[in-house]
């Protein structure tokens, strides 16, 4: 598998204040046809990552250091016009909130058609036909009628399928899905994840899946990257990370996920992680997880550990990894 997306030492900081970073030295690689999950809680920098890759950072933030390379082309520093040609056509995006992602004033068909016509010189009629095809591809019922429906008529799950249809309209090579199922019911979450997995198989997509839900990752992804306080703290293949998490944060995060079978009458309290999720702009010296870590040692509050490579493409940033 060849590398489709490469991120090298990416820093994102407040505009004009390069020392106040929200993303700190992120590097990773995504291969063609692979599903890479980016897991983290608030302040981890996971959403900033997706915005930085596609050039959609808000005005308050800017990339200060590092490169993003897509299929050999450098995206960082690319002219906005050229970036627009790639965004939508070769990189599709699915965002979190299906209720607001679609414009209530235009039909579903119009919006998907727009996604097509933004990049390909096709007629309205051809775009509409393509929209119907795409609606069928995302398993929506009665596509030839649904194409003329307005978003208000659709449920959250259905809208998210439309958003996915628009994202894959131009057969992109990469889809970035930022918390695609967080706002949906668990039964619908499962459906959408299954849809993404089947589309990935059918179309050979690479997917960068950003989520806070470890359960979703286990079912869908090939590899996982765990982020904390703006930096990557662990990376591994999915099978490996669940079997043996190396970083204490990953381990504690897994433990904090409720596992059935420990309820009343002999209830076992859920495993907590003490303390608060840190503000990435006000990090103490040393490892950002040290204040909450159960195995922190004296070295942990002095220097921040660097990512150390492990077999099978894994990596951990910790002075006391579990291995």
């Amino acid at each position: 598998m060849t590398s489709l997306l490469e991120v090298h030492g990416l820093d994102v900081a407040l505009r004009g204040e390069p020392d106040r970073r929200v993303l700190r030295g992120l590097s990773f690689e995504l291969r063609r046809g692979e599903i890479l999950a980016l897991v983290g809680e608030s302040g981890s920098g996971k959403s900033v990552t997706s915005l930085a890759i596609t050039g959609l950072l808000p005005p308050a933030l800017a990339v200060t250091v590092g490169r993003v390379v897509f299929d050999g082309q450098e995206l960082t520093g690319m002219a906005p016009r050229a970036l627009r040609g790639i965004r939508g056509r070769r990189i599709g995006m699915v965002f979190q909130d299906p209720m607001t992602a679609l414009n209530p004033m235009f039909t579903v068909g119009d919006q998907i058609g727009e996604a097509v016509r933004a990049h390909e010189p096709v007629s309205r009629a051809a775009a509409r036909a393509r929209a119907i095809e795409l609606l069928a591809l995302v398993r929506l019922p009665d596509p030839s009628h649904l194409v003329d429906a307005y978003p208000a008529r659709l449920s959250g799950g259905q809208r998210q399928r439309v958003v996915i249809a628009a994202a894959i309209a131009c057969r992109p090579e990469l889809v970035i899905a930022d918390e695609p199922t967080t706002a949906l019911d668990p039964t619908i979450q499962a459906q959408i994840m299954a849809l993404l997995a089947s589309l990935q198989a059918e179309l050979g997509l690479a997917i960068l899946l950003i989520t806070h839900n470890l359960g979703l990752v286990a079912q869908a992804a090939d590899r996982v990257m765990v982020m904390y306080a703006g930096a990557k703290v662990e990376e591994a293949r999915v099978a490996d990370i669940f079997a043996q998490p190396l970083h204490p944060y990953t381990r504690r995060l897994l433990a904090a996920t409720p596992r059935p079978g420990h309820g009343h009458p002999n209830r076992r309290p859920l495993e907590e992680i003490a303390g608060l999720v840190p503000s990435v702009l006000e990090l103490p010296p040393g490892c950002p997880f040290a204040p909450r870590c159960d195995i922190a040692g004296p070295a942990c509050t002095q220097r921040e550990p660097e990512l150390a490579p492990y077999p099978d493409g894994a990596a951990v940033a910790c002075f006391h990894p579990a291995a």
């Binding site: 799950g157 019911d185 668990p186 999915v238 897994l254 409720p258 079978g261 420990h262 309820g263």
Partner: protein, 314 residues
């Protein structure tokens, strides 16, 4: 068996919408016993939030009875209702919008005491400090505004506020779903600890079935305004009787890649406006048969549990 703390019988809640009459809650009957946690799960639109709000008076039921400690709530006069508020309180889902942004934390926690004229000023201050410590907040932070706290801390403020009147029952509407995973565990454990210490009961609404299984004694599953299954949490999880419960369990993402994916529930949650004849789940049910389309099942007892399905025993 002692009489239940909260008793709902035949509760019905409807709303007028441009598209017709929306039956959010259809004939629900439930009990919550003192000191227990009853989990209420279901998809969006199933009526669980409406049910929760009707118990605390934010929604007026169209029919049915709500009894708290034997007293009927739906027919209370204004003053009696005011007094009853001390017995049931509510914790909201969104820690960002459930606190008045212009009030300090201590003032928010003291508000219920002020409204019910409990204690002198000094006594209230003491109680607020005590409550803050109880929920794991430092009393010195009482002078801060909500935006100065994290999501988990705000939720603790909400819990302290709910505890102020020493209620017997707290209704929690998705109390942790807006929080980070690592913080969810903290807040849930806090609620459990408070229950152990004070014997308070909870009606906990959540879409996170795994969380509810850990925290609740019993679970009620709602679909399209009705209870379709009710039973002890562990048993319900291990041996669900209703096909919808099974589907909910299957949909819970398991953080273990070795576990195979079970067949998924298709379709979307139905609209509460147009109710199909017969069993409301028949359209999505993998085991639906002719009888299901024609005849709506009623909630019947199966040992210590209850289920509304014609074919639950199979």
């Amino acid at each position: 068996m002692s009489s239940p703390l909260l008793s709902l019988r035949g509760l019905e809640c409807t709303f007028d919408t441009p598209r017709g009459l929306l039956h959010a809650v259809r004939g629900v009957s439930l009990d919550v016993h003192a000191g227990e946690t009853l989990g209420l799960v279901g998809e969006s639109g199933c009526g669980k939030t409406t049910l929760a709000k009707s118990i605390v008076g934010l929604v007026t039921p169209r029919a049915g009875s709500i009894r708290l400690e034997g007293r009927e709530l739906t027919t209370l006069s204004g003053t009696e209702r005011f007094r009853m508020r001390r017995a049931v309180q509510f914790v909201f889902q969104d820690p960002f919008s459930s606190l008045n942004p212009r009030r300090r934390a201590a003032s928010l926690i003291a508000e219920p005491l002020e409204v019910h004229r409990i204690g002198s000023r000094a006594e209230r201050r003491e109680r607020v400090a005590w409550l803050m410590e109880k929920v794991g907040l430092r009393p010195e932070w009482g002078g801060r505004y909500p935006h100065e706290f994290s999501g988990g801390q705000r939720q603790r403020i909400g819990i302290a506020r709910a505890l102020a009147l020493e209620p017997k029952l707290i209704v929690c509407d998705e109390p942790v779903s807006a929080l980070d995973v690592s913080i969810q565990a903290q807040v849930v454990n806090l609620l459990a600890r408070l229950q152990q210490e004070t014997g308070i009961a909870y009606l906990m609404i959540s879409h996170d079935l795994a969380l509810v299984e850990n925290f609740a004694h019993r679970i009620a599953v709602m679909y399209l305004g009705e209870i379709v299954e009710l039973g002890e949490a562990g048993t319900l999880w291990r041996t669900p009787l209703h096909p919808f419960t099974r589907a909910l369990i299957d949909a819970v993402p398991v953080p273990d890649p070795a576990v195979a994916r079970r067949p998924l529930l298709q379709g979307d949650p139905p609209s509460p406006v147009s109710r199909p004849a017969g069993c409301s789940f028949a359209g999505r049910c993998p085991m639906a048969q002719a009888r299901c389309q024609a005849e709506a099942p009623t909630l019947r007892d199966v040992g210590a549990r209850a289920v509304a399905c014609h074919y639950a025993d199979e």
